[in-house]
Amino acid sequence: MIVYILCFILFLIGLYGVIAKRNLIKMIIGLAIMEYSINLFLIVIGYVEGGTAPIITKNFKHSGFVDPLPQAMILTAIVIGLATTAVLLAVAIRLYKKYGTFDIDEIKSLKG
């Protein structure tokens, strides 16, 4: 049980980073931490006591596999996270060029 709670704490650390930090890059890092915590969580829920990696090898004895479906889900989530982070970073460096700062407090031309 402690593992799940640790995953959740990691998620909250990421959320804290996104909400409390004023630097664009640190916010992006916070989002990445949230994503990793969920990947970890999915890996953990797929674990079967004493299970091996779900691969059939030459000298293969059936002794229970870990659940391969969460692993496939994580792979997809990683790819999606890669795309999101790339777009975010691209926007962040563009913002830096326009405003000359990474500070979110100084980037506020939208109001109302």
């Binding site: 949230m34 969920i38 999915l42 829920i45 479906l69 969460p70 997809t76 795309a83 913002l95």
Partner: protein, 511 residues
């Protein structure tokens, strides 16, 4: 198995990838391929609505269920999916026609069409998917395309808006993914219908927690009240056809639709969730319109009205949910849900049209500040008259479509005994009318507009005005959905799916 189902994803995705290759050799190929792709999607949707009845299931990869447990990724087309697909392809087609002239102001136009196709592919994928993880994947495709499209002009404000949108959208996606993980942990399956069979007898605290997480995640995507702060920025900064797509379609297809699908067909109905959704819908209806009053930026005003109008959709369906949960008359529930769904298609048409009008004004005059506009009626007659129709429609003046859906919702609310919701719905409608009177006055009438004479302002090009006229005609034409014969074809199959909550899973996995 109907082999036409995957085409809803293949056509937009394939045309997007094809365009990236071909744009190097043929400069204007994107402006040809995208409208045709959207047109074929529209025809395909109409084919499904008119010719194909019943729920259609498609198993990707052709894997049959093992021991009654579905293992393939399911694609499901039923009444509700068809209805949302119709919204997507209708508004998408006219937005892309509008874009043909509008995108001339950008340097890399071709990328616009590629991203637009990806947006359509993502939304179509969400709507036809019968598997929650697949919903997440397609939702991210649509979301990433929309992040890039909001920032398409790479101006200061657009970049800021897209950053805000991405951070909040990212948090929403993470919450959704975590919730999917929690559901998989509990049930060991990802298929919506199969999950329903597993958890339909449960009524644990865990389920309530998961439901609330889903409300938070998809509520962020749909901009329901406490999560609405990103919407006015993102929707007002985007290029106008994209604003029309985001406000008209995206928040419905990846937000509201998924909420309805999951809470009616996946989770067992519960009174708490129904009440939460209805109350949040009511609050966002009121807050949206109150925030909209003080706005002078035309697109920002429209974006706030989107929050308010989505509130109508949510209370329509939420009251239906409440009535079903409390064991009330199914006919009232059906009436209420029909009102909500009817308002959904109405909102996408008139709000899309209003954003296109705002884009037309900005395209010619270069500003969207209402205080600096005025007197445009003489110079842009088509924009002015279509905008008048859309304004009447959104404020619920008969005989335009907005009137009928609002009446359905209000009547259902009164008959279900929720008089306070009916009162707020009428109240918000009146304020909406006031707000749009202001838009009409300051944008088109107010002064004689002599300053536009000097600048040589004229009507927008043909493709833009054409799509605006057709959308205005649709504002009138959709009123016919109130006629029982038409409603039987378009609206009632969608309502049926939501009212008979069991049927979805029975048809897919069998009991």
């Amino acid at each position: 198995m109907n082999s036409l189902i995957p085409l809803f994803v293949i056509i937009p995705l394939g045309s997007a990838f094809l365009m990236v290759i071909l744009e190097r050799f043929l400069k204007n190929i994107c402006k040809v391929i995208t409208p045709f792709a959207l047109l074929s999607l529209l025809i395909l949707t109409l084919h499904f609505i008119l010719r194909v009845e019943d729920t259609q299931i498609y198993k990707v990869g052709g894997f049959e269920p093992v021991n009654g447990i579905p293992i393939a990724i399911y694609m499901v087309i039923d009444g509700l999916s068809k209805f949302v697909l119709l919204i997507i392809s209708l508004v998408g087609f006219f937005s892309i026609l509008y874009s043909l002239s509008y995108t001339n102001q950008y340097t890399s136009e071709n990328k616009f069409y590629v991203l637009f196709s990806l947006l359509i592919a993502g939304m179509n994928g969400v709507v036809i998917s019968g598997d929650i993880f697949n919903i997440y994947v397609f939702l991210e495709i649509a979301a990433i395309a929309s992040y890039a499209l909001v920032a398409f002009g790479v101006e200061k404000q657009q970049l800021e808006a897209t950053f805000k949108y991405q951070i909040l959208g990212g948090i929403a996606s993470m919450i959704i993914l975590m919730t999917i993980g929690l559901i998989y942990w509990n049930t060991g399956t990802l298929n919506i219908a199969d999950i329903y069979t597993q958890i339909s007898n449960q009524n644990s605290l865990f389920l309530k927690f998961v439901s609330l997480l889903f409300v938070a995640g998809f509520g962020l995507k749909a901009a329901i009240f406490p999560f609405h702060s990103w919407l006015p920025d993102a929707h007002s900064s985007a290029p106008s056809p994209i604003s029309a797509m985001l406000s008209g379609v995206l928040i419905k297809a990846i937000g509201i639709y998924v909420v309805f699908r999951l809470f009616f067909n996946m989770f067992p109905l519960s009174h708490e969730i129904a009440m939460t959704i209805t109350v949040l819908g009511t609050i966002s209806m009121i807050v949206g319109v109150l925030l909209a009053i003080g706005q002078w930026d035309l697109k920002r005003l429209l974006a706030y009205h989107s929050i308010s109008q989505m509130g109508y959709v949510i209370i329509g369906v939420g009251i239906g949910m409440l009535v079903i949960v409390t064991g009330g008359d199914k006919k009232i529930a059906a009436l209420s849900i029909a009102g909500g769904l009817f308002h959904m298609i109405n909102h996408s048409v008139f709000k899309g049209l209003l954003f296109l009008n705002a884009g037309a004004i900005e395209y010619r005059t270069g500003t969207r500040n209402l205080q600096r506009l005025g007197g445009l009626a003489k110079f842009m007659p088509i924009t002015s008259s279509t905008s008048f129709i859309a304004s009447m429609s959104i404020s619920g003046i008969p005989p335009f479509n907005g009137f009928f859906s609002k009446v359905l919702i209000i009547v259902a609310a009164v008959r279900a005994g929720y008089n306070w919701i009916a009162f707020f719905a009428v109240f918000v409608s009146v304020i909406t009318l006031a707000s749009f009177t202001k838009v009409q006055k300051y944008a088109f009438h107010n002064n004689d507009g002599n300053k536009w004479l000097k600048k040589n302002i004229k009507e927008v090009p043909f493709s833009m005005s054409f799509s605006m006229i057709i959308m205005a005609l649709l504002c009138l034409g959709l009123s016919f959905f109130i006629v029982p014969e038409v409603r039987d074809i378009f609206l009632n199959p969608a309502v049926q799916i939501l009212v008979d909550t069991m049927e979805y899973s029975t048809k897919i996995v069998g009991m």
